[in-house]
Each structure stands twice: as structure tokens, then as C-alpha cells.
Symmetry: C2
DNA sequence: TTCGCAATGTAATATCATTACGTTTGTGAG
DNA sequence: CTCACAAACGTAATGATATTACATTGCGAA
């Protein structure tokens, strides 16, 4: 599988910066509507303002979408460009998300795709469970 | 990672059979509301009838949820018991879904979890792209 | 300046899922 | 058998997530 990601570095607009900032301040993933609530004081009024900013941020690879949560997190990498395949471990107790990647997993899924003539554009890998902190604490 | 799945074989109720039947008849994944629409003639009236049946079917491993689609498919295995980790390749063009699993991927994700003291309860692996048929056709 | 495009503002609507509450049904203990 | 309990069911209301539609604004290129 080609990594397929061609994230464009972009100049963030005001709305995009605000949304990114909200996600950076947050400890974990936020839903679009939670972001909206947190940006009311900055003039946000409608879901679309959030979704439009998220689209751009996702496109630039600065933010990831967690499909199993319908929520969004900032990319863990300082200047995330073309990470290829990314996986997430999501703690159901504290809500924190750990982002990681694994070349072997990437290679295996890529192999499957090649063997089955499937052109993969995006992969979603999410582990749901309990993090170390919550298991001990 | 332990495979962790302990699907109970169950005696299906009428509603559960109807929902399973709808998914079996379908070519690809269906949303809960699409299932509801297809079962109107069988007396279905409310979303909850579908969601309750789906809960049981998911618990029994007869049906899978596609997180990136908010939709449901029948398990590809005749008598799906305890498959461990399952992956899906979802064609964005025709909507068909291919279910597969890979022991190496399972092992690698399990290793990551072990090394990070993360107790994984469920894994979600979905490839989005275009299937062979749609690439050729 | 004028055209065109990206971003924005706002309202309405579509889609997905759950809570709440009351009733029915099946089943095992006595 | 029948009582008591649990599981399943019916229905309405609501909550949560996401998109469509349309008017407007800001700004760079011709």
C-alpha cells in the first residue's frame, strides 16, 4: 500500500486556528459539538464552522478523526506530515488516546490490499480498552 | 492480546431473526435506519427495535459494526464464534465489504498493547478504498 | 476594477443513537 | 398451576452527530 497521504501544509485561518487550539488545550478527543461549545465565546455559532475547520485540519494532517468515538484529536506529531498508517489506543475509562504506528501492521495490511487488488486510501486502526494508568490507579 | 471474544450462541427472537435476515439479504452494510425501513412491513416501527436486535446479534458475533460507516454487516463466517481480531476492506464505490483477519497484525497490535500495559478489549481495523471490481469495471 | 475562488455566517434538515416508561412474554421455583 | 422475575418488546421523546442550501465577505489575479 502506498502511504497515500499528501498532507498540505496550510496557513490556518482564524476559525481553523481556534478549532486546532481547542483540540490542543484538551486532554483528549473532543466531539465537534464540544468544540463548538468551547468556542462560543470566540464567536462560534453553528456546527458547520467547526466541521469546516476540521475538514481542513484533517486534510493537513494536523488533526485525526477517531471513527469509533465520532471525535477528533490533535496529531501527536509536532509537524505531522505523511505519517502513513496511524493507530490509536483509546482508553474507555479516562478517555485518553495514544497514537502509534507499526510498520509491520502497515506492511501486512498493504499486502492484503495488494493480494486482493484493493486500492486502500485510508486505514482506520483503533484499539478500545483500558490504559495502564487506569488499570493501576 | 487475548482474543477476548466469548460470543454466546443464542436462540434468536423474532425481531433478531428479522434484523439478521435483512442484513443477510443485503449486498453490503446497512444502517440501522435502513434496516428499520426494510422491516416496516414486518411490523417494525421504531429505531429501538432495530438497535436492540443489533445489540444481541453483535454480542453473539453474528453481525459486525463498521465504525467508519455507522453501519452493520453480517459476519462472513457461517457460524462465527470467537474470531479474535477482524478487519474490513470497505469499497467506497460499490459499498461492498470484505472481511478478513491477519494473525501477524493481531500479534503486532497485541504486542503494542502488552508493551504499553494497555488492556485491549476490542480492535477496529477498517480499510477504506476501492475494490478490485470497481477498479476494473 | 472586476472576476473568481476560498472562507464564512446562518438556518434548516438529515442521520444516527439513547433514555424513559410501560406492557408482554417466557420460564423456573414453589 | 401460578407466582415472581427477567428478558424482550412497543412507543414516544429526546439527544447527538453531520450535511445541505444559500447568501455574504475577503482577497488575489487578470
Amino acid at each position: 500500500m502506498s502511504t497515500g497521504h499528501h498532507h498540505q501544509p496550510i496557513d490556518l485561518t482564524r476559525n481553523q486556528s481556534l478549532v486546532l487550539g481547542a483540540l490542543e488545550k484538551a486532554e483528549g478527543p473532543l466531539s465537534a459539538y464540544t468544540i463548538l461549545d468551547r468556542l462560543r465565546d470566540d464567536g462560534f455559532r453553528a456546527p458547520l464552522q467547526v466541521y469546516r475547520a476540521l475538514d481542513k485540519l484533517l486534510g493537513a494532517g494536523l488533526v485525526h478523526r477517531l471513527e469509533s468515538l465520532n471525535a477528533f484529536v490533535v496529531c501527536a506529531h509536532p509537524n505531522c506530515h505523511a505519517q502513513g498508517m496511524i493507530a490509536f489506543a483509546i482508553c474507555g475509562t479516562c478517555g485518553k488516546v495514544d497514537e502509534f504506528s507499526d510498520a509491520v501492521v502497515q506492511e501486512r495490511l498493504g499486502s492484503w490490499a495488494r493480494e486482493n487488488a484493493f486500492k486502500a486510501e485510508k486505514s482506520i486502526i483503533e484499539l478500545r480498552g483500558t490504559c495502564a494508568g487506569c488499570l493501576n490507579g
